[in-house]
């Protein structure tokens, strides 16, 4: 029986589980027309969960701990991802409340299950939190499955829309295959070391036979790569993003990706790296391939969600630079800084796409023509997000790229080629991101009626926009936060 005191450190997780159940209860009580109330409760509850998380961070001064027989990590790294998952989920739910109202006007997109949607998102966010903190293969497998199962349902949420059904089914089939491979990798790793604890594996991994370890790593990478949409496990991304409800696509590209990276880093850097395998080169190659493939395939896209999907693949490549550069003051926190800033401008871009999609009923980039006159604020924010995705100062995206390039250069001059690949890819990506700006600002509008966003979605947009600009101009607090978080990663 674990000590009761350990339960207190689980306060955020317990509260999230309770919140999900509360939402299901609230959903029973409110009428069909006012399901948004469930969303508001969810946002409030998620923000409330930041309190125990903050308390946990404050109580952590002494250093990292592991509870429940070494299966669950309580360290700055896990807390960082708790904050990230909570913020991302809250923003996505904030944006969803309006998305559903707008979608209800189109019969094929109407959903009778709005209340459950928010509960599912909260449960997914619980899964993300658990993923980032798992220090044991079994808990890892369970939390990944929790995230996957809820995500499959969310991707196929618009039952009347065939594309959404296609997205759900595709995501499920790919996901199930990736999970199966990953579990096989887990079992090999267990067979080699005789333990499921990542930290015990780290001590024993140097003595195990190399070929078997490599097979295990490759199989596990299939599972993690699926979650972070890394090449060659990326094929599902464009179809799922295109078909899924836009807020869900936003959530997958930020939440699942971040948690996937947390797991990847914990497994690769903690458990596998001591074996002496050349993990850095492997990750660097995967990073370069993801960047190039994602960017080159994004170039011809006309659908904004498909374009953002390929951009998400290329950003996975950029974040992998941070994994390759792990070690050293920049390298340890590079991934965290990138993921945190990436959350805001990616969510923002998806929110604009959601708003336009709901208003115009189209996700085609040419239909963004003249947006600067139809909705100046909206166009400005979208331009900001696009420049941030490219990495043009003074946006958060620039600082993230700057920081992650610095991490690679600091790590070793041998990674200069990877930085060069990143530079080339930034330039390639400019072309398709500016394509959106071009449509909004350079082309005349087909129909000059103004576009106004509903209030909750607008609030979510301005929050992400302000964060994009502020984190670009004054990233100091974020660096401090990320550095303390990475210091505690044992």
């Amino acid at each position: 029986m674990p000590p009761v005191g350990d339960l207190w450190t689980l306060a955020p997780e317990l509260w999230l589980a309770a919140l999900g159940l509360i939402l299901l209860g609230v959903d029973l009580l409110v009428g069909q027309g006012s399901k948004r109330a469930v969303g508001w409760v969810a946002v409030g509850g998620l923000l409330l969960a930041l309190l125990p998380t903050g308390g946990l961070a404050a109580s952590l001064q002494g250093g990292a701990r592991r509870i429940f027989f070494d299966t669950y990590a309580v360290d700055g790294f896990a807390i960082f991802f708790k904050v990230l998952a909570l913020l991302a989920t809250a923003l996505v739910i904030l944006a969803s409340t309006d998305y559903f109202r707008a979608a209800a006007q189109r019969p094929e997109d109407a959903s009778r299950f709005e209340g459950e949607f928010y509960a599912l998102l909260v449960f997914t966010s619980l899964g993300l939190v658990l993923m980032a903190a798992s220090a044991d293969l079994i808990l890892l497998a369970l939390s990944i499955e929790l995230v996957s199962l809820t995500s499959y349902v969310l991707a196929g949420y618009l039952k009347g829309n065939p594309r959404s059904n296609e997205a759900g089914l595709k995501y499920f089939l790919f996901g199930a295959a990736a999970s199966a491979l990953m579990f096989y990798g887990f079992s090999i790793l267990y067979g080699l070391t005789g333990t499921t604890s990542l930290y015990v594996i780290a001590q024993k991994v140097a003595q195990v036979p190399r070929p078997a370890l490599m097979v295990s790593l490759a199989l596990m990478l299939a599972g993690f790569g699926f979650k972070i949409s890394m090449v060659p496990f990326h094929q599902w991304t464009p179809d799922v993003y295109e078909g899924a409800p836009t807020p869900v696509a936003a959530f997958l590209s930020v939440g699942s990706k971040a948690a996937g990276f947390a797991v990847l880093l914990r497994v690769v850097a903690v458990a596998i790296a001591p074996s002496g395998l050349d993990v850095v080169t492997l990750v660097a190659v995967l990073s370069a391939v993801s960047m190039f493939l994602g960017n080159l395939l994004a170039l011809p896209q006309r659908n904004i969600k498909r374009m953002l999907a390929y951009s998400s693949i290329s950003h996975a490549g950029f974040i992998l630079i941070g994994v390759a550069a792990f070690g050293g003051p920049f390298g340890n926190s590079g991934l965290l800084v990138y993921l945190f800033t990436y959350m805001f401008f990616t969510l923002g871009a998806f929110f604009v796409a959601a708003l336009i999609g709901a208003r115009l009923g189209s996700d085609e980039i040419p239909d963004y023509a003249g947006l600067s006159q139809r909705g100046p604020g909206l166009a400005f924010l979208m331009a900001l997000f696009m420049l941030s995705l490219t990495g043009i100062p003074p946006t958060a995206g620039f600082f993230a790229k700057f920081y992650i390039f610095a991490a690679a250069i600091e790590r070793s001059p041998a990674l200069l080629w990877l930085v060069a690949a990143g530079v080339i890819n930034s330039v390639i990506s400019l072309y398709y991101y500016v394509g959106v700006i071009r449509a909004m600002y350079l082309l005349p509008p087909a129909d000059p009626t103004p576009i106004r966003g509903p209030s909750a979605l607008r609030a979510a947009l301005w929050i992400t926009g302000a964060a994009t600009l502020l984190l670009g101009l004054y990233p100091q607090p974020l660096i401090v936060f990320a550095r303390t978080a990475s210091l505690l990663l044992p």
Partner: protein
């Protein structure tokens, strides 16, 4: 004070977003620009020509990474700051009649002004890089929205080309940062430390990173292909700023960063870079001569003139480590910096001159379509002739002083290369004289009978620039004194 000057235009730009009345928007734009110019003049009064870096303002910004907000002025940046201020104000005056999306237009011009000023005064590489990149965005929109028929192509080409260079420079900056002890982005402390002096392999990588960025901006042959497109398609004010100031960002970078930070590597490749500069000089002049479009003609003459600047910089680099050639190197650098200012003033006015005839009068830029304009538009002809003669380097005007100093200096370092460059001057002279002949002389073309001469607004924009060409052509000393202190310091550090 310096920061006030720096952010005044941006503040004005944000303020005017809240207004609807076109008169108010124009007034705020011009007011903010002029106020910033006024502060610059006050700073000029406080500037000590014999001092080094001065009027420095510093604040902590992102201490965990060693980034600070530091700005300052010296003899290299001050003339370029003044040039920026004058050309920006003049561009706003010239753009008085713009009506299409006026608010965005003025906002972008003011944002651009702050960004350009920032590049010249920033003394922290992170800050410098932010301003450097921010210049791209407004220019992209200025070309893309208010440009000519092929505006979209020109705008994205400009953006892509310069971004390649910028990111290469970012890698160079990071290499410097990680080899400094303690790690810092502070420019002066990096110059003092010479962090890459011990590792020539990395220094070479970093040098070429910086080189790519600056060479694309200058633009040096063979990186110049974005320039004719961007210049021709940009609206007149955009061309003025592009040619007058943005090209100087590149040469400024060479003098401010490449020369003091990587002297050994720069010397190693100085002859190669001088040859590229010569190719730019001769190629620019020849291609310019072949142009039928007046705007393209002026654009290619920029490639030629920026070649002179690079020749002077390369001469200074080649003289590294040879105290005997220090005097020649200083002269060449003085000429190069003087040419930056001169080219800004001269080519800025030439683009406006083209705009005067194209935007509001003839709506054509074909050199051969005119003829005999001299009798019809006497004031316009006079101003154009002075500007073109200044551009071809006629003694008594600003261009001559610059080119004379450049060739004088580089002759002392590499005589053969310098002598080859003189060919360019001859071609440029022929080109401009032939242009004057085709447009203003000969029998009047009856098609242009109804054209009006310059109006007040155009005179307000053009006369100060032409006056500067004559004044600094006859009496360059005050300007040269400011430049010389800074350049002597650069060369002294190189010895």
């Amino acid at each position: 004070m310096l920061s006030l000057m720096l952010f005044l235009p941006l503040a004005g730009g944000i303020l005017l977003l809240f207004f609807r009345n076109p008169r108010a928007i124009r007034g705020i734009a011009l007011g903010a620009s002029l106020l910033s110019l006024y502060v610059a003049v006050v700073l000029l009064g406080r500037f000590n020509p014999r001092g080094g870096m001065q009027l420095v303002e510093s604040a902590t910004w992102i201490p965990s990474v060693g980034i600070s907000y530091t700005v300052g002025l010296d003899g290299l940046s001050l003339p370029l700051v003044l040039l920026t201020q004058v050309l920006s104000a003049v561009s706003i005056v010239y753009s008085w009649r713009v009506e299409l999306r006026l608010k965005e237009y003025m906002f972008l011009l003011l944002l651009l002004q702050t960004a350009m000023l920032g590049v010249f005064v920033a003394l922290d590489f992170f800050l410098f890089y932010i301003f450097w990149e921010v210049t791209l965005v407004p220019m992209y929109f200025l070309i893309g929205i208010w440009g000519g028929p092929r505006k979209e192509y020109a705008a994205i080409k400009f953006f892509l080309f310069t971004l390649v260079g910028s990111l290469a420079m970012l890698v160079g900056i990071l290499l410097l940062y990680f080899h400094a002890q303690p790690r810092t982005f502070h420019v002066l402390s990096l110059i003092q430390q010479q962090p890459l002096a011990r590792d020539l392999r990395l220094a070479t990588i970093a040098f070429w990173g910086f080189f790519l960025s600056f060479a694309i901006k200058v633009p040096m042959w063979p990186f110049h292909t974005w320039l004719p497109d961007a210049h021709v398609e940009a609206p007149t004010a955009g061309s003025v700023i592009l040619a007058g100031i943005l090209l100087k960002l590149g040469t400024y970078g060479f003098v401010r960063f490449s020369l003091p930070l990587f002297p050994q590597v720069f010397q190693q490749y100085a002859h190669l870079i001088a040859i590229l500069a010569l190719l730019g000089i001769i190629y620019g002049a020849l291609v310019s001569m072949a142009q039928m479009d007046l705007k393209k003609l002026v654009a290619y003459s920029s490639v030629n003139h920026m070649g002179y600047v690079m020749l002077g910089v390369a001469a200074a680099a080649a003289a590294y480590g040879q105290p005997a050639k220090a005097a020649a190197a200083t002269t060449a650098l003085n000429g190069a910096v003087f040419e930056m200012v001169a080219h800004g003033v001269i080519t800025g006015s030439l683009f406006m001159i083209v705009g005067v005839i194209y935007d509001y009068r003839a709506h054509t830029r074909g050199v051969n379509e005119f003829g005999g304009l001299g009798a019809l538009l006497p004031v316009y002809t006079g101003i154009t002739t002075i500007a073109m003669l200044a551009s071809l380097g006629l003694p008594g005007l600003m261009g001559f002083v610059a080119e004379f100093l450049i060739f004088l200096g580089s002759f002392g370092v590499f005589p053969a290369l310098a002598a080859t460059g003189l060919v360019g001057i001859v071609i440029t002279a022929a080109m401009f004289l032939w242009t004057i002949q085709r447009i203003f002389l000969g029998p009047p073309n009856p098609r242009w009978k109804g054209l009006l001469d310059l109006d007040t607004r155009e005179l307000v924009a053009l006369v100060p620039l032409v006056a500067a060409m004559v004044i600094f052509g006859l009496y360059p000393r005050p300007l040269l004194e400011i430049i010389d202190t800074a350049m002597a310091a650069v060369v002294a550090a190189l010895r």
